[in-house]
Symmetry: C2
Subunit: 330 residues, 2 copies
């Protein structure tokens, strides 16, 4: 069983998901399934994934049959596993707990070569609806405190499969970065009685220098202090702390802006590997006045090296104002 | 001039070091100087680096001549620049300051193909002595609050030159990760009146399961919650908060254990890219009872992907007990 371990100094959690039987060098030579060959996520190969937990667009009653528009399946090689009790315990001065959680794969499209920048907006709506449906369903499990939804696109960004997919991991604790973000928002709110993200949106719309795109309900900006060249955030214009609070009209607006944002990125840096992460309020919080959900998109342009590991600083060679100018005009 | 920018929510700092005139795709296609060809760090090419700030082993009085055992030079493409005043200012809700700092390259050896695992212990002593000398010298500049010393080895770990070198960056603020580490140590000390690292060393020496190597004054362990497979920490056994407090006998013991540690890593994962980071107390602190300097060595085996970016969690497929067993017997 995987194990969650906490660093006793800095409080950082690590998932130890042992792959026993491997020899040291096997950890270095990653299997590369990103190009060509057999795809376990394509239609007709449904039996190579664990049984689906959600499907859209299947006309028949045949579970795991080949006709569908989107499927969600448990990860075949999960970082955390769903069965078992949470068991927190110590080992001398150290803390650990069972690696309880859920790890699912959202197969975003049946079409192998479709990407988030090339797919129809209606298909993107399905992707985000699937996030919402899974977030709502998994929140019923009281062992989970947070669900992170993310995407790795391209091998350099950590993807091991080429077929367009995103992932979610349900966690028994609120992760450190989200907690720090919540604390920062809380401090700002206590001081100003305003949401810091709402203030950011206000300033970006007035300054215009880091604004990439917007529509009725959403806005895309390059953040003021981006970790990566061409980093972008997509945020709802009106205050909303939880992704799942979006209604259908919102979902559609969101998909539209997200689509045009990804098309811009693809025109500026064709086929660039990227990660995106959904930041939303923890499961046990209802509506929060100080938190504002958003998606952070990080193109994989640079390497995390000694300086970043040692300081938490990032060095970015593209000012966000320059990135926004390029993205806006693309 | 580079700019330091602070994320208004989470407090993370970013260095915006613009490389103007590049087109977007230039950021992706990194120049690769790691293999073959002309080496600006080799003897005889001293005029291709900025003038040296420290040299060991030069018999003549010819500054920047070709005979030397180790050189330290300012980085030709610095992330921060040494000239100017610290100027903190706002931009609406955002904070920024001038990118004042020092960025130096420690050319660890005149021999192009020598590595930290293949070089003689006496040469390693020079490397660590150079760290100490530069830390002491740069600490005289009152604008600097912290100096991070680090090494990127191999292209995948961020090295852009093959010739064995490490780097240091002097910063006008204490970086977030170091501050969090200091805070964690402080909390532990307030509770226990003991240094958490001293307690870790005590537990690791008694448990033995994560102990890799030790000599009279130093110990190498795989930490309990490692971010990366085969991550190792090298620590002084006796409490010491600052790297610069080491005397010559200590330096020699440290170089010996560090050498054998790197040889172990190289035998288990030949030529694996890695980063290491020196963690030492901030410049303005004298001896700290709650902090303990050490070096963290992180082999570059996995990719930082969406899950890590979004949560700060790391997934590690090699339990440190397994890594230590393999490293110890290698």
């Amino acid at each position: 069983m995987p194990e969650l371990r906490r660093d006793p100094i800095i409080g950082r959690w690590v998932i130890i998901a042992s792959e026993r039987g491997k020899r040291p060098y096997d950890f270095v030579k990653k299997k590369d399934e990103t190009k060509g060959g057999y795809c376990p996520l394509c239609p007709g190969h449904e039996n190579t994934t664990p049984p689906e937990v959600l499907v859209y667009g299947r006309p028949s009653h045949d579970p795991n049959g080949p006709e569908w528009q989107l499927r969600v399946v448990p990860n075949k090689f999960p970082a955390l596993i769903i069965e078992g009790e949470l068991d927190k315990r110590g080992e001398g001065i150290y803390d650990k707990m069972n690696g309880i959680g859920a790890h699912e794969v959202i197969i975003e499209t049946p079409r192998h070569y479709e990407t988030l920048s090339s797919m129809a907006v209606e298909q993107l709506v399905l992707v985000f609806r699937a996030y919402k449906d899974r977030l709502i369903d998994l929140a019923r499990d009281s062992r989970f405190k947070y669900i992170i939804v993310f995407k790795n696109f391209g091998k350099a960004a950590g993807a091991s499969l080429e077929h367009s997919h995103s992932q979610l991991i349900a966690l028994p604790i609120v992760p450190q970065i989200i907690q720090e973000e919540l604390n920062g928002c809380q401090r700002y709110f206590e001081y100003k009685e305003r949401c810091v993200f709402c203030d950011i949106i206000r300033q970006e719309r007035s300054q215009q220098t880091r604004l990439v795109d917007e529509n009725r309900d959403f806005i895309t900006i390059c953040p003021f202090a981006p970790r990566s060249p061409f980093e972008m955030w997509v945020l709802p214009k009106r205050h909303q702390s939880r992704f799942i609070s979006m209604d259908d009209a919102h979902l559609h607006q969101f998909a539209m802006l997200f689509s045009s944002t990804m098309k811009r990125l693809d025109r500026v840096l064709p086929n660039i590997p990227y990660n995106f992460m959904l930041h939303t309020a923890p499961l046990r919080d209802s509506h929060l006045e100080h938190y504002h959900w958003h998606i952070e998109i990080m193109p994989k342009v640079s390497t995390v090296a000694g300086f970043e590991w040692g300081t938490g600083f990032h060095i970015n060679t593209v000012p966000p104002e320059e990135a926004a100018t390029i993205l806006k005009s693309s």
